[in-house]
């Protein structure tokens, strides 16, 4: 989790501002989204159980969630590329817990064409 891979590596620019500073947006291509549902891992649960005696960061879960969020972003980027966009602006994240200890990680944004 210290070194999350850069989301723009080898793909299109993502920003969570309304415009890309220094670039001009020509056309918007609609809202794109990507989501992934992850359940907790039993083995990681055991480690986290020991850690929760004393509290603090649960590193296994931090890694799990950042990997999953990366996957949600990749799906969103694939959606945007499929629409012919070359950037995504106003990216937002939402997380919700579904039943059974699983959580859904959802990301959405507006696909745009920049010059």
């Amino acid at each position: 989790m210290q070194n999350q891979p850069n989301v723009t590596a080898g793909s299109i620019p993502l920003v969570n501002t309304e415009t890309i500073p220094g670039r001009t947006i020509i056309q918007t291509m609609g809202v794109v989204s990507g989501s992934t549902v992850r359940a907790k891992n039993v083995f990681k649960d055991i480690g986290a159980g020991f850690k929760s005696i004393i509290g603090g960061e649960l590193v296994a879960y931090t890694e799990l969630l950042s990997e999953s969020r990366q996957q949600a972003l990749e799906r969103m980027v694939a959606d945007a590329i499929g629409r012919g966009a070359n950037a995504i602006v106003n990216v937002r994240f939402a997380t919700s817990s579904v039943a059974g200890g699983a959580s859904e990680l959802f990301s959405y944004g507006t696909a745009v064409i920049i010059e």
Binding site: M1, T17, I53, I54, L65
Partner: protein, 169 residues
């Protein structure tokens, strides 16, 4: 005689297992508060060092960049931290929740998670060569324990994300 001997062994094992299973809880009660304070103060020290070294905090939640500066590159940066309350903190929280009022034990867990994730975002922006982070957002979500499982591990995730900006020199 045999029966009483077996009873004795059984009672010894029972007492041992009860005291051993209580041991982590005692450990938690003794050390979790201290541990929480130490990681929180380490994190605020890192934040203080970072800000005093750079002269300015590079995070902001302004929606855009300051006017009159050329931008070379911008990208999405994010960092997240999952934290959990210790057994002792959960127990104190449970006691508090019977009577209501403020729960300091959970408060410190959440404020640590925010401090830590924001500090990681600062360091990440610096490491990747971005001068500032604008439009920063903080999201908090809970990872609940499975309802029908014995595991009672529950975590709170704090996600911090924003747009990293590299200015033209």
């Amino acid at each position: 005689m045999m029966a009483s001997g077996e009873n004795l062994i059984g009672i010894t094992i029972a007492i041992l297992s009860i005291s051993l299973s209580g041991l982590p809880f005692v450990f938690s009660a003794l050390y979790s508060g201290r541990y929480q304070k130490s990681i929180t103060s380490k994190c605020s020290q890192r934040e203080f060092d970072f800000v005093s070294r750079n002269g300015v905090d590079n995070l902001s939640n302004l929606s855009g960049i300051l006017p009159g500066k050329g931008v070379v590159n911008s990208t999405l940066l994010m960092e997240s931290v999952v934290v959990g309350a210790s057994w002792w903190q959960s127990f104190v929280g449970f006691l508090h929740s019977l009577f209501g009022g403020k729960i300091d034990s959970f408060d410190s867990v959440l404020s640590f998670a925010r401090l830590e994730s924001m500090q990681r975002l600062r360091e990440k922006a610096e490491r990747e060569g971005y001068d500032t982070v604008v439009n920063m957002r903080i999201e908090t979500s809970s990872m609940v324990a499975q309802t029908n499982s014995k595991s009672k591990v529950a975590g709170v995730e704090v996600l911090v994300y924003g747009t990293g900006i590299r200015y033209a020199k």
